[in-house]
Amino acid sequence: MLNKDIRNDFPILDQEVNGYPLVYLDSAATSQKPRQVIEALSNYYQNDNANVHRGVHTLGNRATEGYEGARETVRKFLNASSTEEIVFTRGTTTALNLIAQSYGRANIGEGDEILITYMEHHSNIIPWQQLAKATGAVLKYIDLEEDGTLSLEKVSDAMTDRTKIVSIMYVSNVLGTMNPIKEITEIAHAHNAIMVVDAAQAAPHLKLDVQDLDCDFLAFSGHKLCGPTGIGALYGKKALLNEMEPVEFGGEMIDFVGLYDSSWKELPWKFEGGTPIIAGAIGMAAAIDYIESIGLDNIEKHEHELVAYAMEQMKTVEGLEIYGPRDSSKRAGIVTFNLDGVHPHDLATVLDMNGVAVRAGHHCCQPLMKWLDVSATARASFYLYNTKEDVDRLVEGLRMAKEYFQ
């Protein structure tokens, strides 16, 4: 387990909610922010704020250095070979939409197939639905195993000569399942399909290496890894990004503008129309520096221990059903569950009254809820600042809810 002093880096955790010390178990929705990130944002606005890539003045240079420095931080974080392959976006959703609208529109035709799974987040479903509708392509779903994992055999079986795009989440935000992305990428490439990775839930918890995975695109969000909201990044292989047209046009992204025609900047700026998310990028880089100073391996280990403990303790609550892999070593720091006789919204209210924050609902995964045959679930998600005591408070709250609704 990580040292509990880490909690001191997160000022927000030091408060009472409804008369009890806050236990924050909703990091899969958004993580809390350490002082280091809050200070980076405030330092940027207090000392360096200016627009980037244009100012001759000193602040303009500092802002540009901060923003482009953040790109280098993201490049190292993903082990990409060049900063040309790192596009800043508003988050994972924007990144996936960019791929669908730019790469998709140019390369997908009628009868082509796009392959996703039943566990995807809405952000990795709807861009492909829209692409399929616009082009006449076919959207196909790979079925899951009973325990909510993905079998490589079923991935292989779903591939055809027409499969052009495979887009799969690295870690499920509901089941906690960690998908074998490297192996799936090999399968996709063997069929000449490109591999898109939704790494929104993976980036905060696992060491990522895009060269080792060999994926073609990978997207993640800053706010889930201790960074600010409104910033994320898209990694794309240079050869693909070079071929792609921008989807947003305007300032910042142009090379030359004529009356009736214009040309674009080089990579990656041609995809960053408008004044970029400067403070966000700087804040996200501070967040990456922060989690790397703790160590992704250490964070992953910490979460595995917490999840193992949580699953063991939660099993002792009568009528509690946990979804996803039974083997806690096969899941990231997420436990989704239902308590017999207590609707998840009621459960979340009871827990909130005891200072424990969990998520209740469909978690932006309506097709997965249908697959699980439930209308809603409750979810506890853990991060580096959570402790075994947090799990104990959760379990205590679950018992109380059970009793209250009896």
Binding site: N18, G19, Y20, H343, P344, H345, D346, T349, V350, M353, N354, A360, G361, H362, Q366, M369, S375, A376, E396, G397, M400, Y404, F405
Partner: protein, 145 residues
Amino acid sequence: MGNEKLDQLYRSVIMDHYKTPRNKGVLESSNVTIDMNNPTCGDVIHLTLQVENDIVKDAKFEGEGCSISMASASMMTQLIKGKNTEDAVNAAHAFSDMMLGKDIDDSMDFGDIEALTGVAKFPARIKCATLPWKAMEKGIASDSE
């Protein structure tokens, strides 16, 4: 633990309607059918009404949802049965006001429904309580078109 505040939300009459809902099911003789969901949480309601000469003769609901939404549906169907459609819609408006913590018209006899006043103090749960009422309002509006 925080039982007192919970008791303001989960009044016994609400729990009674949740555990033994009135008017649960589907009306065979319905002429108005409404499906509505709450996209943020997954609650769904299937409401069937029998409306004749602007009178709600009968009402039944099916649904998936929390205690607040299902109890609210049970109470709502109980209230509107036998009412004319204008009164039913007015009741829906008064219920919305109640959820916003506003004072409501004294002439409105809400009976059991007043137990739901506590929901106004739980902003995240207001949409649970209003879902069945919004469904009813939409159904009556579609019938009068």
